[in-house]
Subunit: 447 residues, 2 copies
């Protein structure tokens, strides 16, 4: 087989699964959600299926609707370090915020993760969607969207240079001569910018991957421009093939303007599959989950997406479209648009809308047979809508197992997904080059 | 046996070992210093010997004398998370700075480590000794000593409340009723202080130990007062039994004024043993290490302790005592005093002084037979100088193995050290109570 284009598949891990009522489902592991061995086993299963990576979301604040859902957060880099110790190949992607961390500290965390995992770290770069984070960090309010992205751009410049500050051959470590490091190959940054003053260098040698794989997950105009410039993979949410295609084309076009080829950015929509041996069985499974939904919770989730609280309205009445206007779109612009599109296209009742979103917070939910799921994946992959997917099982671990046992073999049979790993690093799984240090001879400016 | 007072023993891990030339010693593992499995194996050996904990130092800047020594730093919390995954009982202590981190972020890192290790996390609280850290965090200079400790006190108040913000029974996690958390038992801090404004609550439930074990490692007046109030264990450096006894008595006395009993603070001096089957063999071993010293490196180390650069002076001439005055003591007040005491007491040549310090950066270095080492440990332990020790092997892993195989059995025979673990958490190993949340009914103010 002549190495045809291969799907990227990540397992996106939410504690109980991605459906908001997953933890109430009989097959869930609700009681193990604080037990690291549960996540280690999930990662091992994903590795056994030769997935590219596992992936954790994050945010530095407690969600305000924790009463009715498993909305806690462990710190994902620590968590992945413990997972790295019991896996060998699978990539390890942690979300971290450019708004609420210091570049020197975050550079150290990811450099350590990349060293200890021998080149499997990825960074999902976010500016943080939860506005209540601000009050945990002494800020009067969450900085405006544009300002967050401005800080993010400067942050990327700084942190990339920190990771590059030791050239690859700066580490000598030769007991005989007594030279540990060739200090002429270790560079200060002396960065002075609007948001940061950072001297450097980093206090550890360059990592196996040079830098963690840069992942990005914002879809606003600012978010896309940022992604086109910096991202090596993009997580994104689409409900339809058309929407995904438009996004895909736009990103690859914008990337060209930064001299980046289409293969340098993997676009990975989320997919949350309900799988049954017949369509009816898959639909019934989805229905079972939807019956476990708690409307108190769903309505606070919806409020965070559309900026309007629909508590008190008849759940089986129409969505009061006139209450939703663009002015109320705070924070998550792209998720707002996605919801409004559903309302305008499908004219759902409030209950139908929250059920629609409960599946995976706005990501693509699909119910069907393994063949149907595989057909859709193939159609998006070959139709210019995706380079792969973030698989978001409705519940865990069972929802992943079904996908691994029933869908992955079909994708393999069609030559779309690897039989085994050919590389050892996340960059190698994704087919991305290892970046040279910007301080080395072959200078390639990062910005 | 009626449960007599037991020694605490930590393994303090420096990459190649604690002697500054350790990495050049034939028995070192210089080539493995970036390989996590090397540290995992060290932790497993310490656990096999039933040590209380392993411990990593830290600082957010590159040392400026990295040319001639292994002075890099991985991020210790990440590193310990990967070690937690392959150990079951041993405590995991990471150093982290109150000057260069945000309490919300650090609270998350340690809460995650405590959750994933099932109650084995300890925090060595430092205000950071390396002044060059400031420039990595946008500060014009390292804040003055007193100001660092002022920030540290407020930091401890904030972070303790973050760890307490979920009462122990706030996590309900009951799929049947659909209640995940009892939100009346999750508390905001609404802290507004000079250095921090933090609303909280933390975004994860209370950890197995409630809070990580609070360790402290500064010996200045400010440092001692801070330790007497907050620390549950103290790492300290002493060259003589008398100095250690005076420190021990002072801390336990100051602790009383905060209503804390002597058993609530474990005082743990460092000890770096060169072990031989005869005294002459041990002395030869130490001599072998001293011959590997690189004076260029040693003099920059000395400069950092005494604030004076002795490069250019005759290594075999006397230490020019008149150049060293208290005004030059920057940053590490306690280490300065320790060096001046050696100079005044022993009148060493410059070479003798740097060899003296090369052993373990000013900690107690002792050469002798296993019996002699055990006798000294017992004398300090029973003589009111120590509750246990930070064992700092001159080189690793061999220097630890010799201690474990030859000294530990003697301590056991004398009833001074455990045969096996009786608890599972670091608090249990140290014999420390688990703190109640300050928000729970049995309120115990932390400050
Ligand atoms: C798959 C996916 C995962 C995301 N994960 C996070 C996350 O973990 N934390 C976060 O703050 N935002 C997350 N986001 C949101 C975005 O990264 C971004 O912060 C937000 O959408 C605002 O940016 P935008 O307006 O450019 O879309 C995620 C988005 C997607 C599509
Ligand atoms: C065993 C031991 C370990 C220490 N480890 C660190 C460390 O890892 N990082 C650090 O910045 N300071 C470390 N220190 C230094 C102190 O914690 C403190 O920051 C410094 O001594 C200044 O405080 P002082 O003037 O109160 O002694 C250590 C001290 C001792 C005794």
């Amino acid at each position: 087989m002549s190495n045809p284009r291969q799907l990227v598949l990540n397992l996106f891990i939410y504690p109980g699964g991605h459906h908001e009522a997953a933890w109430r489902y009989k097959g869930s592991s609700a009681e193990r959600i604080l037990d690291i061995t549960y996540y280690q086993e999930l990662a091992q299963r994903a590795e056994a299926s030769k997935f590219d990576a596992i992936f954790f979301a994050d945010g530095p604040a407690l969600a305000d609707n924790v009463r009715f859902a498993q909305r806690f957060r462990f710190e994902p880099i620590t968590w992945l370090a413990a997972i790295a110790a019991v896996t060998k190949r699978i990539g390890l992607i942690a979300t971290a915020s450019t708004t609420y961390t210091e570049p020197y500290n975050l550079a150290r965390l990811f450099a350590s993760l990349d060293h200890l995992s021998k080149g499997r770290a990825g960074w999902n770069i976010v500016t943080t969607s939860a506005p209540q984070a601000a009050q945990n960090f002494g800020l009067p309010e969450h900085p405006p969207h544009h300002e967050r992205y401005e800080r993010a751009r400067e942050y990327l410049d700084v942190i990339s240079r920190l990771w590059d500050s030791w050239e690859d051959d700066a580490l000598v470590n030769d007991p005989a001569s007594g030279v540990f490091a060739e200090t002429s190959k270790i560079h200060t940054l002396d960065h002075v910018g609007k948001h940061f003053r950072v001297r450097g260098p980093l206090n550890i040698s360059r990592t196996p991957q040079g830098r963690p794989v840069y992942v990005q997950a914002g879809s606003s105009d600012d978010g896309r421009a940022f992604a086109a410039r910096f991202a090596e993979a993009i997580f994104t949410a689409h409900q339809t093939l058309d929407s995904a295609k438009a996004f895909y084309a736009d990103i690859k076009r914008q990337a060209r303007s930064f001299d980046r080829g289409p293969d340098e950015i993997k676009i990975l929509p989320g997919i949350s599959p309900f799988i049954g041996s017949t369509q009816a069985e898959a639909d019934r499974l989805q229905e079972e989950f939807n019956e476990l939904i708690q409307p108190e919770y769903s309505l606070t989730q919806l409020r965070q997406m559309i900026g309007v609280d629909l508590t008190g309205y008849d759940l089986d009445g129409p969505v009061p479209r006139h209450l939703i206007d663009t002015a109320s779109a705070r924070g998550v612009a792209s998720r707002f648009k996605l919801v409004v599109d559903i309302v305008d296209r499908e004219k759902p009742t409030i209950r139908q809308l929250v059920q629609r979103l409960a599946g995976a917070r706005g990501h693509w939910v699909i119910a069907g047979t393994p063949e149907k799921i595989a057909d859709n994946i193939q159609a998006w992959f070959e139709g210019g809508a995706a380079d792969g997917f973030n698989v978001m099982p409705p519940w865990l671990p069972g929802g992943f197992d079904v996908f691994a046992e029933q869908v992955v073999p079909i994708l393999r049979k069609r030559g779309l997904f690897r039989e085994g790993y050919t590389g050892t690093t996340l960059r190698e799984h994704y087919g991305l080059a290892r970046p040279a240090s910007i301080y080395s001879n072959q200078v390639k400016a990062i910005a």
